[in-house]
């Protein structure tokens, strides 16, 4: 199947007073229709900027997409006219933002707001758009949708607002839905419901999803493919089962180890990744992860590791990924303690 979206070597930079921030540095990935891609990484690893760059929403003039291609159905989004991009946004590629408390405009009724993209893109009348908004609200599980559509956002709870945001994003039946940390601002109990809803909507509408999160658990559950980002670069990318079952990159190991485990009885200690993510102005020379990597050697400090593929098409940017002895067969927790 041809890729619905193909991103090649995307690079975005921000000019700040302190210097140039390489927020996204040569990121490539592909998304097939109806599939789900999870983008994982710490705060400031460039996940959100990657998504914003794809929709050309990076705030200019500070932010600038300096290179790469974003091919949506074969057309390069980065070369489109402002008008074409506007026609695409919300219509073909829609986005859900992190904080549902602030992503709905407080002065518009929820139904109006959901209908707006229909008026904008589908040329519907206000009445038709409102009726459709009611249907959508009903679909995302808001009870009494017709009444609730007349409410203002402040009358909705956080979970309901995120539902409304999802309804809004799905209004035009987009090909791609980008969810930027859709559950981060929600209560834990509601997070699962929202994820379930997103998955359910995907089944119904067949939209492809890019889900951005720092929660590996979220990604493991729902993503077909996973891309792990660090300091604006992708460090590991492949099918979900490979990335989680057979992780190649020490950073991914670190992420996995720092997760609390519920599946075993023993109270294992959480192992945090030592240190802080680097400033994107002064990205460490060589492998960006080397100052925090317990396995770092001379080559890591001097050479940028290439993104190497295994025979399963699983990519990893670590000098040692190709070494089978390095990859598996050791209890990583134990070994890290020994190294300290």
């Amino acid at each position: 199947m041809p890729a619905l979206l193909e991103v090649r070597g995307l690079s975005t930079r921000f000019t700040t007073r302190d210097g140039i921030v390489k927020a996204v540095d040569g990121v490539s990935f592909a998304l097939e229709p109806g599939k789900t891609l999870g983008v994982v990484g710490e705060s400031g690893s460039g996940k959100s900027v990657t998504a914003l760059s794809m929709m050309r929403l990076v705030a200019e003039p500070q932010g600038k997409i300096v290179g790469g291609e974003v091919l949506f159905k074969g057309a390069d989004v980065l070369k489109m006219s402002e008008r074409e991009v506007r026609d695409m946004r919300g219509n073909r590629i829609a986005m859900i933002f992190q904080d549902p408390m602030t992503s709905l405009n407080p002065v518009f009724r929820v139904g109006r707001q959901i209908g707006e993209s229909l008026i904008l893109h589908k040329g519907m009348s206000r009445k038709d758009a409102f009726d459709r908004a009611v249907q959508l609200l009903d679909m995302v599980g808001i009870p009494n949708a017709r009444d609730r559509a007349k409410d203002y956002p402040h009358q909705f709870s956080g979970g309901m607002r995120q539902r409304a945001m999802i309804a809004m994003a799905l209004a035009c039946d987009p090909d791609i839905l980008i969810a930027d940390e859709p559950t981060t601002a929600l209560d834990v109990t509601i997070q699962a419901q929202i994820l379930e809803l997103i998955m359910e909507m995907q089944e119904r509408t067949g939209t492809a999803i890019i889900i951005i999160t720092h929660d590996l658990g979220v990604v493991a559950d729902i993503a077909n493919d996973v891309m792990v980002m660090y300091a604006g670069r992708q460090v590991e990318y492949g099918e979900s089962r490979h990335v989680f079952g057979d992780s190649l990159h020490p950073y991914t190991w670190g992420l996995l180890d720092s997760l609390p485990r519920h599946d075993s009885d023993e109270k294992g200690e959480l192992v945090p990744i030592e240190g802080q993510p680097p400033s994107l102005i002064n990205v460490p020379y060589g492998c960006a992860f080397h100052p925090r990597c317990p396995y770092a050697e001379e080559i890591c400090r001097s050479e940028v590791p290439p993104l190497l593929a295994t025979d399963t098409g699983h990519l990893s940017a670590c000098h040692f990924s190709a070494d089978p002895a390095f990859r598996r067969g050791m209890d990583r927790d134990q070994e890290r303690v020994a190294l300290k």
Binding site: M55, L57, P61, R86, D87, M88, R89, G90, N91, A94, M95, F97, Q98, D99, T102, S103, L104, N105, P106, V107, E116, S117, L120, H121, G141, I142, P143, N144, D147, R148, K150, D151, Y152, H154, Q155, F156, S157, G158, G159, M160, M165, M168, D187, T189, I190, Q193
Partner: protein, 330 residues
């Protein structure tokens, strides 16, 4: 959020057990899911932001006193032609009969008469016309210029922002009343030129307030969401940013009317504003200053009128500030 709870029936006792029949997802635990009919009863779904603001404003006694005073003054001035002249005499007709001038307050002339024998009450009422018109028109002019420039400045930033804000600084650099006098000296002293001058001088503050308001609204995620939805600059500006940024302007504009009334009075007092014989509060004070001790009512009443009216606008503006602030839900 407490005021919500006052009006909302207790989820445990007020709502019939029907709640359980609805989809009990997260909402059931965080917010009572009201059955449709109850919705209609509480009027919850018909609540608007402006309705909320009005509710909060109504609870503010000072603001309501201000509002009542403004409405009373407006009604009095609008209907003045009907009752003032027959009851108290024409505010412009000079009465030269001996003893007609400088009468102290009496039943016939409740505020007394001035040195030309004109009824002070009639003049104060007609003076309100000048004050209110100048106040409202001046602020309208300031708003027209200030909102446009403030919006451009806040939304587009960069070069436009620098240009507009530095021009505003230039305006701020001049002593306000001197600048007004200079403008009127060029335009010529007249009723119309007073509000034009005050209006022109008022725009920088409005532009600044609106600009900063837009800058803060612009940072909201719903603006990004609107852009991600494919809305154009124009649509984002007018539909998403403006309605959220306008509250401080309503407050500031209301207070500015009071300020404009004071400036008009000051200019008229200095002889650069409304020209005699048109009654204006400032002009009346100016005429009365030499008679301040012989006929104190000549200064007291126009002074009182200025004080109360300006105060009413300021109180009203202050009340609006609290009422329009969504976060101030006690």
């Amino acid at each position: 959020m407490t005021d919500h709870r006052e009006e909302r029936p207790n989820p445990r006792s007020g709502v019939p057990t029907d709640v359980g029949g609805h989809e009990t997802r997260d909402e059931a635990t965080t917010l009572p899911v009201l059955p449709g009919d109850l919705h209609a009863v509480t009027g919850l779904s018909s609540r608007t932001l402006w309705g909320d603001a009005w509710r909060r404003l109504r609870r503010n006694k000072l603001a309501i006193i201000g509002l009542i005073w403004i409405v009373a003054v407006v009604l009095m001035t609008v209907s003045a032609d009907l009752w003032v002249a027959p009851l108290f005499g024409d505010p412009l007709t000079v009465d030269t009969t001996p003893g007609a001038s400088l009468q102290s307050p009496s039943l016939e002339h409740p505020f007394g008469t001035d040195k030309l024998g004109r009824d002070v009450f009639a003049r104060v009422v007609y003076g309100a016309r000048v004050s209110l018109t100048v106040g409202v028109l001046a602020v309208s002019i300031s708003l027209a210029i200030g909102l446009m420039l403030g919006a451009l400045s806040g939304y587009y930033g960069r070069f436009v922002d620098t240009l507009v804000m530095r021009s505003a600084d230039v305006f701020f650099a001049f002593p306000y009343i001197l600048f007004a006098i200079a403008l009127i000296a060029v335009l010529g002293p007249s009723y119309r030129n007073v509000f034009i001058a005050i209006g022109i001088l008022g725009w920088p503050s409005i532009a600044r307030v609106f600009r900063s308001s837009i800058l803060s609204v612009k940072e909201n995620e719903y603006v990004d969401a609107a852009r991600a939805m494919g809305a154009s600059d124009f649509r984002i500006m007018f539909r998403h940013i403006m309605p959220n940024a306008i509250a401080p302007i309503i407050v500031y504009g209301t207070m500015s009317i009071g300020g404009a009334i004071i400036t008009e009075a000051a200019l008229s007092f200095l002889g650069m504003g409304v020209q005699p014989p048109t009654p204006s509060w400032g002009l009346m004070l100016s005429d009365a200053k030499s008679l301040m001790f012989r006929a104190p009512w000549l200064t007291i009443w126009p002074g009182f009128a200025i004080l109360t009216t300006v105060l009413a606008f300021v109180l009203m503006g202050d009340g609006l500030r609290d009422a329009l602030d969504v976060k101030m839900k006690e």
